[in-house]
């Protein structure tokens, strides 16, 4: 069973719909026991970093998430991916989950249209089980205004938009983060979610 953490941030139903479609058993959860008993965990999220972190803290799940992410497949999506890092700089400096080294910064380039909204190509940088079967011309759907600033070794794939935008990050063990929305990225996104399901 995949636990989708429901902490009042974002369209969790889309993630559930995609997992249902793939025949992957999942549940929307907001309690410790369900996260601990799950085979894998997905942390979705849209909105702002500080507000989302506060909501996550309010569920009392932060320590559980940090511990479980060392033991079982964990995937952060969009804002959920950004929360994986040590710090966010949206509006104010906010501490993240610290599962991967790095921070989250504003995307700033002259003449760059923000948000980065639409389909962009995945450029592979490092091996990652979630990219199994994903080709060099596969696009995924993004919508965000902040991006991860992290070491190259943590980046499985990036996209070009006013410089490199970390698209899929991976700590080499259990922690994965997708800046894009796999649940809204057509066949490519479904394939990535299927790959995640196969880690169980």
């Amino acid at each position: 069973m995949i636990a989708i953490i429901d902490y009042g941030a974002g369209n969790i139903f889309s993630v559930k719909n995609a997992l249902d479609y793939l025949g992957l058993e999942s549940r929307l959860v907001s309690d410790k026991e369900s996260v601990i008993s799950a085979d894998a965990v997905i942390l979705p999220g849209v909105g702002a970093f500080p507000a989302a972190m506060k909501k996550l803290e309010a569920t009392g799940l932060v320590d559980t998430i940090k511990a479980e992410a060392q033991k079982k497949p964990f995937l952060g999506i969009c804002l959920g991916m950004q929360l994986i890092f040590e710090k966010g700089y949206e509006f104010e400096e906010t501490e993240g989950l610290g599962l991967i080294k790095g921070s989250v910064i504003k995307m700033e380039e002259p003449d760059l249209i923000i948000p980065h909204m639409g389909w962009n190509k995945l450029e592979k940088l490092n091996e990652c089980p979630l990219l199994e079967g994903i080709g060099d011309n596969d696009y995924v759907y993004f919508v965000h205004s902040y991006k991860a600033d992290c070491e190259d070794s943590s980046i499985a794939a990036y996209s070009e938009y006013g410089g490199r935008v970390p698209a899929l990050v991976y700590n080499g063990k259990y922690v994965y983060g997708a800046q894009f929305h796999p649940e809204k990225s057509g066949e490519t996104g479904l394939k990535i979610l299927r790959n995640f399901g196969e880690l169980i």
Partner: protein, 251 residues
């Protein structure tokens, strides 16, 4: 590089697509869910459902359409029409929409943009604008399906909604809409040059080169069409192949 998006729009009334056509393999031409699946197969980058139902009962049927589509089609869905309050936005998002498009109501009550963006994030709030030319390089904003001139300068309105937190603009030209003579390049260019959020071009698409032209000549990041795709004059795939061959980046 970010790909240019091609977006079919489905007008839905009482749970049926208005102006439906006979797609191959689509049994019920009026079934929005089947049409959405067909557009998805053709390579649509997003889908817009526009509720033109006037009744309260129709709203429930419309949201069922969105709900059913979101279980089968995994590309972004935008819902427009009938969004008047933050609760309406919440209801649409809970049904599986990723964004809502607000038009007349945003003009009548601009605070809706800010409230929506504050609660759900700017990425959820697309502001639809209907505008008409009044002089060289000057346009005003209309509401109620292009029937009422609000006398608001288009560029001023664009600046206002961007400040309020709109995440995207869907710009429809009343002059071009229905003419099939191409997108309103001058208007789109003026808006794209005056804002830093994504702009969807709408109104006027009649032939395949119109899509290439709008991407070539303006900063629009997406192009939307309804009847052109409904009447099967072009498929999304044909438009994308054509643009790709001309050097436009598409998915």
């Amino acid at each position: 590089m970010l790909a240019k998006r091609i977006i079919p729009c489905l007008d839905v009334r009482n749970g049926k697509v208005v102006k439906g056509v006979n797609f191959e393999g689509v049994k019920d031409v009026g079934d929005p869910v089947e049409c959405a699946e067909e557009y998805n197969r053709q390579g649509a980058d997003e889908l817009v459902f526009y509720d033109i139902t006037a009744s309260f009962e129709g709203r429930g049927v419309f949201l069922d359409v969105v709900r059913d589509t979101a279980k089968k089609v995994f590309v972004p869905l935008t819902v427009g029409g009938g969004i008047k309050t933050v609760d309406d936005i919440r209801e649409a998002l809970r049904a599986g929409a990723d964004k809502v498009s607000v038009n007349s109501q945003a003009v009548k009550n601009p605070q809706l943009i800010k409230d929506g963006a504050d609660v759900f994030g700017s990425q959820c709030i697309c502001v639809g604008i209907d505008a008409k030319k009044i002089a060289e390089n000057k346009w005003t904003v209309y509401i109620n399906g292009g029937r009422v001139d609000m006398g608001i300068d288009l560029i001023d309105w664009v600046h206002t909604i961007e400040k309020l937190g709109a995440g995207e603009i869907c710009l429809n030209s009343i002059d071009a809409d229905g003419t099939k003579e191409g997108f309103d390049i001058a208007m789109l260019k003026a808006v794209c040059d005056n804002c830093s959020i994504p702009v969807i071009a709408s109104g006027g698409a009649g032939k395949i080169n119109d899509f290439y032209e709008v991407f070539e000549k303006t900063g629009a990041t997406a192009a939307l069409a309804a009847s052109l795709f409904h009447f099967k004059e072009l498929t999304v795939g044909e438009v994308k192949d054509y643009c790709r061959n001309k050097g436009v980046i598409v998915r």
